[in-house]
């Protein structure tokens, strides 16, 4: 090699080395953080760190893992961690990283995560498909009429210029055609929407469900005219209103009462068999957290917003006793049977839930 080539070679080698080093450092700093929200809290430069756990006692706490959630379902879990309810029960919450909805169940099945939550209809399809899981307690429920409507599970919006103001208006809207609605069956969105459509005489077969990754994408599609009706969850109520969309109803319109919001915690059967003690502690911690969240909704919302990093101010309403009322689960299952996703009698409620960990 000539001298020029040698110099070129050396320069390039040095540049490559520097690049590799800086990338490695950057990658190290940015690695997926696995830890409890309070730990992650302090990593987010948040000076309003509430009474967080000190790291010395943490050594004695048993870790309980779930995926990192950046949406409204995280509230009771965050509250339980930040307010020390998990600590009281000798548990430490560990967030293991974000996942897409289709990956949550696999991650619980192969042990990456200990628990997750889902609605009863999804749970039924999981169990019918052979997944060895069981629900152990309630998380979210639909609040009764005495509670502020902003806690209701879902709200339905339409464009202001569509002329629709109530559910009845939908009967004559786009007569003979399908109504474009967001959602992917089976989910809370599709179940409650179908129930409401049936109840108000519009008919569930007029529903054309289009899948979107997020509620926010659904709102965007609604604004651009690609959807006729969009159904969203609490963190997006404010966004929907600010976008000038018209509210035509919410999940209480389904007439299902508490069941309209039913969300259940589940563990694998293996976990339940081998570590029932931890499940008990988890259930107790969550019950306390849920009671607290219902009594202190603003602070709960703030904790959630701080963690998620948005200025959403919305929360769900939680069950103050984790007892699962089987009557509330039945409508979700029936909906699956109506849609042909399950056969009559294929699943018994006892296949889905266990009452042994309920906390009154």
């Amino acid at each position: 090699m000539t001298i020029q080539n040698k110099i070129k070679f050396v320069v390039i080698a040095v540049v490559a080395l520097i690049l590799t080093l800086s990338i490695s450092i950057g990658a190290y700093l940015g690695r997926t953080k696995v830890g409890s929200p309070s730990e992650l809290y302090s990593l987010k430069d948040n000076d309003a760190v509430p009474a967080a756990n000190s790291s010395e006692d943490d050594k004695n706490l048993i870790p309980i893992r779930t995926y990192t959630r950046k949406n409204c379902t995280s509230t009771p879990i965050l509250v339980a961690d930040v307010k020390g309810f998990f600590k009281e029960e000798g548990l430490k919450l560990v967030f293991t990283g974000e996942l897409k909805s289709t990956e949550i169940l696999p991650s619980v099945l192969n042990g990456n995560n200990d628990f997750a939550e889902t609605h009863p209809n999804a749970l039924a399809t999981y169990v019918a498909g052979g997944a060895p899981i069981k629900a152990i307690g309630r998380a979210i429920i639909e609040p009764g009429p005495e509670v502020d409507p902003k806690f209701r599970h879902m709200r339905w919006f339409v464009r202001a210029d569509s002329g629709i103001k109530t559910w009845e208006d939908l009967k004559n809207y786009k007569k003979g055609e399908k109504i474009n609605h967001n959602g992917l069956a089976p989910s809370c969105t599709t179940f409650i929407a179908s129930t409401i459509f049936d109840k108000y005489g519009i008919g569930r077969d007029r529903l054309n469900f289009i899948n979107f990754d997020t509620d926010q994408a659904a709102l965007q599609a609604l604004q651009q005219g690609n959807l006729d009706v969009a159904c969203v969850h609490p963190p997006f109520y404010k966004l929907a209103e600010e976008s000038g969309l018209t509210l035509i109803g919410d999940s209480s319109d389904s007439g299902l009462g508490e069941a309209a919001g039913l969300y259940l915690y589940y563990f694998t059967e293996k976990f339940i068999k081998e570590k029932p003690d931890i499940v008990h502690r988890f259930a107790r911690a969550m019950q306390k957290a849920q009671v607290w969240a219902n009594s202190n909704p603003d602070e709960a919302a703030k904790i959630t917003a701080d963690f998620i990093g948005s200025n959403g101010n919305a929360s769900h309403w939680y069950a103050t006793s984790t007892v699962i009322d089987e009557e509330q689960v039945k409508p979700w299952i029936n909906d699956l049977i109506i849609n042909g996703k399950l056969k009559e009698g294929q699943i018994e409620i006892s296949d889905l839930i266990t009452h042994q960990f309920e906390v009154r």
């Binding site: 950057g26 990658a27 940015g30 690695r31 950046k70 990283g97 974000e98 996942l99 192969n110």
Partner: protein
Amino acid sequence: MRRLLLKIHDRFISLYIIIAFFVLWEVAPKIGWADPNFVPPFSRIVAEARKLTFLRLFIEASVSLKRIFIGFTAASIVALPVGFILGGAFPKLEKFLKALLKFLSQIPPFILFPVFVVVFGIGEKGIYTVIFWSAFWPVMFTTVAGVQGVDPLLIKSARSMGANNITIFFKVIIPGALLSIFTGMKTAMTMSFMMLIGAETLGADSGLGWLIHNSQSMGFIPRIYLAVILIAGIGLAVNYTIQWLEENIIIWKEAGHDKAI
């Protein structure tokens, strides 16, 4: 003077369009050709970049790059030997496995995500696996093709000059297959970058792909565009690097042989 200007003009001709594009991007939302809520002007994207701080962006980019490099390197480490063995040492085995391998390579990686999560778990392992899968097939197939494409005459003449198998391998086969291998690596890199966005949904909370998802679900639209541009830019840079490596290593490539752009 005129000649100098013409020369500069010549060099910059390719940049004109790019500059015009960015100018258009800046102007269009402002004069209403595009809805500024959904297509923010370029200046806002730059402002968003500054808000996120260069350091943060660098960290996210580094995480993504690390994942790609690890997946890609792992794929190469496995694919190259496999390709050499199948292409050269055991041609019968290659014929035997060819159909099966072609079949497996056609499975779209993003469809396999839930399977990967189940088998390999979430977090970095899952992501590496996706990148590995995307990069493995192009490299392996092009290595096999490269080895098979070496002129048998060259091998025969080397043997007649008394070269043993090892010498033939290093001095005849590798150089002969290198062109094909580099093409495969470029393709593998492209595929890896393509899959990065999807891969970083498997239990990550950092990285450029994660940034896109996160911005989408939070509604931070300028960030989406920012992350897209960054990924494209980095991908381009990596591709040029491989191209440069190829040009400097394969110095024996005949001029004008490769007329592809």
